[in-house]
Symmetry: none
DNA sequence: GATGAATGAGCGTTCATTCAT
DNA sequence: GATGAATGAACGCTCATTCAT
């Protein structure tokens, strides 16, 4: 039933939101599953209906935001490739700042030490790559990128750069302004990366 | 007897050094008391001979360094008050950088959340204030500061500023250079703070 | 309606078959309800439509086989009582071997520790006794056993013997050949048990 | 202190004895650490002072018996090698029977699936091999076995045979009489194995 | 002062079972 | 009848802390 499904979605959202709030505040290690579930009024076991392991909830934090970014870029029909990429990078780093250091730290940790993630459980990194692949594939189809564009490789490369920036930002404790870096990246690195495949018209 | 005292001092130092090394490397939460004691080859219980709680060991990290700083300033018989204060701040922040973020974070945590510290167990913050009071009191006695100098208040104020800087440095992940800040502080804030009490001669 | 009934019967069979396969392979304790239901493609809750507790599914394993045995004996119109009993015992132990130790162990466990079985949920033991009672009652009616035959008592006694053998076989890990034992039993114990009530003709 | 040590030894024994009793009765999977510790009146955590993991306690069951066997064989100064080996095998299998199937099953499981045993935690298998090596080495030194005897290899071979018998005995549910097998082994296999190294005098 | 055995609260995780849809 | 989201008790294990020796 649609209603059942919707209720479940809401429960999951309650858990993710509680996790986001508590982890951003106290750090991943200082928040227990019990804290999260009792904060949002569900049973402890319910957490494990939605996440195989405590760590996995972190992957879902910011999901709504980052999904919306993907949609937004796909909707930019009038814009050139360079602009799309710059906007994507900007929005991405904005999301990073929005989620905060503690959560980013956990994202990075999960990438560095993927442990035994169940197959059908994509890390945030994989989610991000997949979304960018979508964007690039779409650009190929509407003729903004050439048919030879190595979509997968480029997606990995750009996302890696963004994760690198996120990491630096975390390690720096959040001082430097990612927007400045993004500016430089979009104008230099990224453009150089994509230049060979961008079609002029 | 002296020998026993000395042996005890050495045991404590072994523990503190082990704690410093391990915490700096892995973070306070990821180091257990067992890790610390087995690393330096003493029994678990010995830890609690010297520290009431696991957190307390952090207060002693850097103790030797910060003590030496105090001694050094007191020995600067020829220098003016402004120079002493500037030097103190510089050395202080140098010690902060030397101990590293993970340890500073724990210092700050202990100040923010003093919990149920046993009365006769001064936090690092209190230790630092007391030392600065010593320095200021000495300056009053040698006539560098006026007899009306609110020693305690000023000590708290300056240490607070330094702790503020330490906090910023931690939150920034260690990027910005505290020395620059110290320069400005010593020249402006600190001087303004102490100006009314500094005696000209 | 008939169709619905049939569909339900099939669902139940799917569950029992999955349970049989998995339990025989891994043992009752190492198979979860989730394992069973996801193995046969039904929802977790469906299991509880058919069984009040996880343990109860074991009672239904081999049901088809043991039912068929009962039918077969009832159909042996031409045979004498001794032959019927011997055939029943043989077939019974054959079914036991067929289901395997792990499942038998669980049958025995359920008999030994009936816990809070819901009233209308006969254990396999009760099912077996009831079936044998049917066979004996039929024999009384066709004149093979005297009217004084204590049907219920005898059924319990014989089934107990067979369960004893099953238990021995389980405890022995399945080495000795139950058929040999059955041979001796049918010829000695069983015959002596039933002798007073078997009518000669 | 000796007293402390002794008290600890007793605590460990209490735990092992409780584990032996409960596991032999209900099987490893149906006994929790809580069951064991509360049965013998110690705190849950105490269990983990002595054993890294729940499984490890099984390795210590029967320890006293098997140690005594080793001592006994070493004390058989007057006996020939063949007799020593036969006695060892007999006593070993007697110990196996004494501990019961459920515990043997767990021993075998731990050998088959050593998981991540900590280095200094020998499995029962390793303990048994080491003890037999001792016995053989002693025999070499007193001149019963030649200097060329491949002590380690032979120890492994004989223990493997005994474990093979234990496994068969478990799988058979305990029916066949290990003593008979041992008889044959000691007379045939074992003697053939050791024959080339036994010195006649 | 030093020890290390003992403690017990707390954590992450599993899973049989319930029940509204 | 079938579903699957929700539950909560129970488990294995960790670890800061206490205390008799």
């Amino acid at each position: 039933m649609n209603k059942r499904r919707q209720a479940a979605e809401e429960t999951k959202k309650k858990i993710v939101d509680a996790a986001e709030k508590l982890i951003a505040e106290k750090g991943f290690d200082n928040v227990s599953v019990d804290d999260i579930t009792s904060f949002c009024g569900v049973a402890k076991g319910t957490f494990y209906v939605y996440f195989k392991r405590k760590e996995d909830v972190v992957q879902d934090i910011g999901y709504a935001y980052f999904s919306a970014v993907g949609e937004e870029i796909l909707a930019m029909k009038e814009s050139g490739m360079a602009e799309k990429l710059r906007r994507y990078s900007e929005k991405f780093m904005h999301g990073v700042q929005r989620c905060g250091i503690r959560i980013c730290r956990q994202w990075i940790k999960n990438v560095l030490d993927p442990a035994d993630l169940p197959e059908n459980y994509p890390s945030k990194y994989e989610f991000d790559v997949a979304m960018l692949e979508n964007i690039l594939q779409d650009a190929v189809e509407v003729g903004q990128l050439s048919g030879e564009t190595p979509v997968e490789t480029l997606a990995h490369l750009l996302i890696s750069q963004l994760y690198g920036m996120m990491t630096c930002w975390c390690m720096s404790g959040g001082t430097f302004e990612p927007k400045d870096w993004v500016g430089r990246f979009a104008d230099e690195q990224t453009e150089r990366l994509f230049a060979p495949y961008i079609k002029k018209n």
